[in-house]
C-alpha cells in the first residue's frame, strides 16, 4: 500500500556502520537511525543539519548505493527488493556530488564521463547515437559541446559541476539526490547552477532530494525542508513555514543562526545560540538525541526518543514538549 503522489518513500530506514573501537571490539555507528519520510513527485525536498548528522548517508542509502541495515525504500509505489529492482531503480535515479571532479577519473574526457552511465545501462544502439546523446546533454547544462574531448581538470568549478549534472541526467532519471552541489562554488557561480537546477526540474520533470548546509540556498530551492540531528529526522515541513516558524528546539536555533545578508534584519535577529558541541554518533544520548544541548530538556527527554508526529497539516516534529514550548 502506497501513495502514488509520492515518488519515493522511506520507511524505518537504518544505516549502521561498524566501527572498530578496540582490538576485538566494534560498535555500530548509527549514521541513520529509523528515519521515515516521503518525497512527492516533482518536488524538491531539502535536507539540512549539522556536519555528520547523516545527510549524505540518507542520500546514498535511498539510492541503494549503500545497502540499508534495515527499513524499506519504495519507488513509484513499488518496494525495491530484488537485484533487478535495484538495477531498474538505479537507471531512474542519480546523484550529484559536491565536487564531481574529485569523484571522477582525471584521465577521462568529458564525453566519457557523461557517457559512462549510458554505457552501464546500454542506452544507445550505436556509437553515433551515444555521441548525439552526450552532445545533447552538454547543451542542456550549458556546456560548449565543442569541448567534449577535453579533460575535467581543464574546466572551472562551475563548469565541472555542470559536467557532474550532465552525467547524472544521462539516463533520464526521475529522481536526483543532490549532495551539496553548490557548496564548493563561488557565490556568483552558485546562482548560475541553482538556476540550472530549477530549469532542469521544469524541463525534465525531476524530483530532487537537495542536501546543503547553506539554509538560504535550501530555502530558495526547496518546496519542503527536513531537518536531521544525529541520525534522526527531527522536523519536516513546508520550506517557508519551517524557516519562519520552526517548532523543534534544534530547528529554532538552526534557523536563527542563519546569517541573513541584510544588515537591518541581522542586527534585529535574536539568535538562539547553542552551547556545547554535537555529540559523537558513537555515544548518542539516550532518548532524544538533542537533549544534551536542548534548553527545554526534562527527565522524560532522557527516557524515550520522541516520534516524528504531524502537529499541524504537513508539519512534522519529533519533540516531547513541542506543544508546551511553542
Amino acid at each position: 500500500m502506497s501513495n502514488m503522489e509520492n515518488l519515493v518513500e522511506v520507511k524505518n530506514l537504518k544505516e549502521y556502520f561498524n566501527i572498530t573501537t578496540g582490538m576485538f571490539q566494534s560498535k555500530p555507528l548509527k549514521a541513520v537511525d529509523d528515519v521515515s519520510f516521503a518525497i512527492r513527485k516533482g518536488e524538491t525536498l531539502g535536507l539540512v543539519g549539522e556536519s555528520g548528522c547523516g545527510k549524505t548517508t540518507v542520500g546514498r542509502t535511498i539510492l541503494h548505493l549503500y545497502k540499508p541495515t534495515a527499513g524499506e525504500i519504495w519507488f513509484k509505489g513499488k518496494k525495491i527488493e530484488t537485484k533487478a529492482d535495484i538495477m531498474e531503480y538505479r537507471k531512474k535515479s542519480a546523484m550529484v556530488f559536491q565536487d564531481p571532479y574529485s569523484s571522477l577519473n582525471p584521465r577521462m574526457t568529458v564525453s566519457d564521463i557523461i557517457g559512462e552511465p549510458l554505457d552501464i545501462h546500454k542506452m544507445y544502439a550505436d556509437k553515433a547515437e551515444r555521441q548525439e546523446k552526450i552532445l545533447e546533454l552538454m547543451n542542456r547544462v550549458g556546456l560548449n559541446s565543442e569541448h567534449a574531448s577535453r579533460y575535467a581538470h581543464e574546466f572551472s568549478g562551475g563548469q565541472r559541476q555542470r559536467i557532474g549534472i550532465a552525467r547524472a541526467l544521462a539516463t533520464s532519471p526521475e529522481f536526483v539526490v543532490c549532495d551539496e552541489p553548490v557548496s564548493a562554488l563561488d557565490v556568483s557561480i552558485q546562482a548560475q547552477v541553482i538556476n540550472m537546477f530549477d530549469e532542469l526540474q521544469d524541463q525534465m520533470d525531476l524530483t530532487y532530494l537537495f542536501i546543503a548546509h547553506d539554509l538560504l540556498v535550501v530555502r530558495h530551492i526547496s518546496d519542503r525542508i527536513a531537518v536531521m540531528y544525529l541520525g534522526k529526522m527531527v522536523e519536516l515541513a513546508d520550506a517557508k513555514e519551517i524557516y519562519d516558524h520552526p517548532l523543534h528546539p534544534y530547528s529554532k536555533s538552526l534557523m536563527s543562526a542563519v546569517p541573513v545578508p541584510d544588515p537591518k534584519i541581522a542586527r534585529a535577529n535574536q539568535r538562539v545560540v547553542l552551547t556545547g558541541d554535537i555529540p559523537s554518533p558513537l555515544n548518542a544520548p539516550s532518548g532524544c538525541p538533542f537533549r544534551t544541548r536542548c534548553p527545554y530538556a526534562c527527565d522524560a527527554c532522557a527516557e524515550a526518543m520522541p516520534e516524528l508526529k504531524e502537529v499541524s497539516p504537513g508539519h512534522f516534529v519529533a519533540c516531547h514538549r513541542v506543544a508546551e514550548i511553542n
Binding site: 557565490v187 556568483s188 538552526l254 546569517p259
Partner: protein, 332 residues
Amino acid sequence: MALLEVRDLHTAFTTPAGTVNAVNGVSFNLERGKVLGIVGESGSGKSVTAYSIMQILEKNGKIVSGSVKIDGQELVGAGEKVMKTVRGNKISIIFQDPMTSLNPTYTVGHQLTEAILLHTNRNKKQAYDRAVEMLRLVNINEPHKRMKQYPYEFSGGMRQRIMIAMALACEPDILIADEPTTALDVTIQAQILELMKSLQEELGMAIIMITHDLGVVAQMCDEVIVMYAGSICEQGTADEIFYNPRHEYTKGLMHSIPTVNNDDEKLEPISGTPIDLLNMPKGCPFAPRCDAAMKICLRERCQRMEINEDHAAACWMNVKEQMEQEEGGEEA
C-alpha cells in the same frame, strides 16, 4: 590618526607563468573598535591583503610598493625584527583551517602558554593562568583538563575557538579573521561570531573580517570593502554597501544570493567566469562580465569616486549618472 592605515598597497607573486599582481593599489583606514569586512570572490586578493599587512607572504610574494602604518608607525620596509614585535602584540590572525596553525604534536596548553610567553612580559606561571583564562573566555569547559590535550582531541568548532583564544591571548589591537567560520556548521558559526563580537566589545579591539559570506558581513561589520581582481571596487558602511551598492560587481553579488525576500524570484547570476590575474583586461577588470559595460570601461579603469561621506566606488556608471544629472540641471 587611524589605528591602521593602508595606502596604495601593491603585492605581487613571481610564478613560472609570469608575475601575478594579486593586490593592486589597496587603500583603507581602520579605526579602533571597528569591524571591517573584506568580501570578494575566491582569488580577489582578500587573503593576500591580510598577509601583506602581517608580512607573512609566501617566499615568492613581495610587497611591491605602498604603505602600511599602525599607530603611525610605518611597517613596509621596517624589517623582520620590528614585525616580530608587531605580530601577536598589535595584530593577530585567525586562519580558515585551525589545523594548519595549531601544531598537532604539542598540547593546546603548551602552544597557548608559549604564545603568551613570546608576546607578553609574563612568567611561566602567569602565562599558564592566562592561557586557562583564555580557554574559559572562549567557552571551553574544564580548561585545566583541556590544556593537556592535543588538537586532534577537539572538534572543528572547538579548535577554531582555541585559535581565537590564541590570537586574543596577547590582547592585540587588531584581529584579522580570514574566513574564520567557513568550515563550520551554522550553529557553531553563530557561537564563534557571537564570541568574537562580545570579545571585540569587551576588549575594544578592531577586527578585519575576511569572508565570502555576505550574511556574515551583514551580521558583524560596520564597514565593508568589496574587492575584485586585487583592487577595491567599492567601500563604505555596511548599510551603504547593502542598500545602496554603486559598483556593478557589488550589485551583481547582491542579486545573485538567495535572501529571505526573493524566494519566488529567479536569482540573477553574474555571467562569465572569474578573472585570470595573468590576463588582466586593460580597462575596468569587471568589464568582461559586466552587463552595463560602456566603451570607456574597456579602455580605461575608473578611479575611486566619493558617492557620499560614507561611501566610495570605482565605476564609470557613477560618473555617467553625475554627468547626466549635471546636464539635466543645466537644462532645467
